[in-house]
Symmetry: C2
Subunit: 203 residues, 2 copies
């Protein structure tokens, strides 16, 4: 992979930042192209030709192949690195948390943040399930991180990359991370391990 | 893996059937334990001790380790088999569709089916997004299957296992598969490849 990848993403999207962080952490040459999602950037004919699902992030490889779904992309990029455990069961535990992130965490924590922070909706106008299930997700992370340093075990893996993306922004979705001290400490460990600054500094 | 796995699942859940099918297809000895989800079977102290996320399916291995998330489980079970492509990019394409299934297909097609078929809600009482986004998912599958025999390429992979689980039940969610002829033909190919009967026969 000496030729650069092209990452199409929205810099406000945690899903897109996952891909940017992993490429940078692994030293993969990558070009970032901004896609303005709220402005319709995933609905243009040019973008839909690259990803008919109309979602970011995508990665376009030098041979023209396109891959979508943030977690599938980062598994592909990081295969063989320390971010992916070497033993089959530890890999499975990593994937377990990555699927859980997309099904039981992102649809509540990222969606509530989007509605509050970007769409400027009033908290009273939101579906109460977003707060309830987001808190369920944070509680499960807190219990997990009370036992191990990282989500899938003792070392930093892609499970942490996937889950930190929106957890570190959760306050923008109205979740108070002061209630989750193990999660807060873990966010710092993951940011340090990935070599990214704390949220609020430039991502 | 000579000692049997224990699969905890609800036989009405496509997510649980994925695990049962893959274990059977690979000839892995497995014991099935029914969990009655609508009856609260995932909320008992015993079940929550196995999976604090309170969801089925889970697999308990002979050493006592527990794995959750249907798609993570089937990747672990099928690694090294013909259901998982051998080349890294083809594996990535498979995972792409498996993440897409959990984020952009199951939350609409399976959820609408659950509300209509099990909860017996009236179609008028449902969130219209369920029908809209479910149809979006079926359209993208139809376009994909007009070009290749299976979702991730020319051979049957776990992407097909993951996606067939609720697609073959989509009519119970009010989706008319007559509008998606390539999807219908693919369902037959996947059922034949997995050695399971058509839906409606015992799963």
């Amino acid at each position: 992979m000496a030729e650069p990848l092209t990452i199409y993403g929205d810099p406000g999207s945690g899903n897109c930042l996952k891909v940017k962080w992993v490429a940078a952490h692994l030293g993969l040459p990558a070009t970032w192209r901004d896609v303005d999602v709220p402005g319709g950037g995933t609905r243009t004919p040019e973008f839909l030709a690259l990803n008919p699902a109309g979602r970011v992030p995508i990665v376009v490889f030098p041979d023209g192949e396109v891959l979508s779904e943030s977690n599938a992309i980062i598994v592909y990029l990081a295969e063989g690195s320390a971010l992916v455990p070497g033993t089959p069961f530890d890999r499975a535990r990593m994937l377990q948390w990555m699927f859980w992130e997309q099904y039981s965490h992102e649809p509540y924590i990222a969606v509530r943040r989007y509605q509050l922070h970007f769409l400027k909706r009033s908290p009273d106008a939101l579906d109460p399930k977003l707060a309830e299930r987001g808190a369920d997700a944070l509680r499960l992370m807190e219990a997990t991180l009370a036992r191990t340093a990282f989500m899938a075990g003792p070392t930093l893996t892609l499970a942490d990359v996937a889950l930190v993306a929106y957890t570190r922004m959760a306050h923008e979705g109205g979740f108070d991370l002061a209630d989750y001290p193990a999660v807060r400490a873990w966010i710092g460990r993951v940011e340090a391990g990935l070599g990214i600054g704390p949220y609020g500094a430039l991502a």
